[in-house]
Amino acid sequence: MNRASMNWNATINGKERELEVEPSRRLLDVLRTDLELTGTKVSCEIGRCGACMVLIDGEPVNSCLTMAYQCQGKDITTIEGLHGDKPAELHPIQEAFLEEGGFQCGYCTPGMIISTKALLDRNEQPDEHTIKEALCGNLCRCTGYGGIMRAVESAAVKCKTRTEEPSVAE
């Protein structure tokens, strides 16, 4: 069987989306051009900088390396899909990046935050080595990484505290 175009569908930030696309179209282009989700950034386009990072079924993946057919039917989270308890609130990781000076120009930040989310979802208290390993595919040309390391450490504490706090309804 072969395809020159496909009826592509995926769940993006919790919403079902359907598009007619070329199967080899990059997820990056589907997101930024077709769906106008420009929070996902584009820079190197060869998997080296991490600016285009998204979560596919909870795993971090470079959307510039991923073709549409490779994420058909998957659950995709972009930076636009992250928020706090209410949709208008910041996610604790976003708060931490703001508070700790985890960015300067901000171009790498969506990718950094997505990689941090992937890390903290499977490791509540990562040590320094684990943080460096998880973020080694994300490059920042401004901060020198000090603020980013602090932001991730602070985000870990915030995320853990929020999961431990009983919610208002309880």
Binding site: M1, N2, R3, A4, E22, P23, S24, D29, T33, E45, I46, G47, R48, G50, M53, I56, E59, P60, V61, N62, C64, L65, T66, M67, Y69, Q70, S115, K132, E133, A134, C136, G137
Partner: protein, 340 residues
Amino acid sequence: MNTHWSKDDMPPIYKPVVWEPADAEEAVALKREYGADAVWVAGGTLLRTQWEGGVAPMPAHMIRLDTIAGMRSIIEETEYVTVGALATLKQCGQHAALQQYANALYMACRHIAAPAVRNLATLGGNVASAVGDALPALLVHDASLLWVDGEVASLHHEQDAVDWMEQVRMGRRSLQAVLLGIRFPKGPVEAGSLLRSSSDIGEETTVDLSANAVSYWTDEKGERWRELCFFRKLGRREAFTPSLVTVALRCWISERGELTRVRVAAGGGSGLAMRLLQCESMLEGRSYDASWLPELASMAAQEFVSYSDPFAEAPYRQQSAGNLLAAGVWESIRDIEEGR
């Protein structure tokens, strides 16, 4: 005349037809039909860098390999571990059987690219590229490659990784061959056969599992041999870096410090990985003594065939390979002495 193409009206070559073969035979038949206009795609990570970097044009036909059933699994049998070519580097770098029985490969997979790339990239793609960092590890684990090859009458065949690398070096690799999987013997190997079934060792040979993923075997005289195995990668920065040099070593060390079944390999960058046979024979049967490490380093530097590019000269790569090997042996022995 200046022609500007927008993404949507690019010529057809930029909109490849994507094929979804149901099995490897169909994938081979498609490649035969479309020849140089078609490429097999596994994770597509290396291909993307080639397309974007202008090293290769985007093909008119992409042949998916991920539609072929069963190519993603890692199967542990009594004497072998078989890794499907479509197993991702992440899968390989987390698999207990590889950690135990193919530790150099396990470590290599954990040091290729970054975690997000490893979610897509496959071991088969790394091997089939012929320049992947996993290759020196394959060589020290006596790996064999399982192919469906349109140039071989029986189609299916198993080939020693060393032989395949030699074919690549001679420019004689088959362009019609889909890699199905990579197979490793669990225990030590002698003259192409597993020691387990070899007559000079007999029934007593065992490969013990231990909590810290170290393998042992006991010879016919009751002497216990411990596996010593490592992989080292040198790049231009600490993490997430293309390699300048990669080395791997595997051998078995007795309680008296004697080394046997030594395998040494080096590769890295866009160079072809190779076994360092002179280093292997220098170490075979020797008892460990830190005083011979400089000799190992300089022999490896002489034997390793490397290349120069704008980032590093061949002598630098050769000397680094020697130093990485000597340091790796020293560190591994130190770890054993310290009970790690």
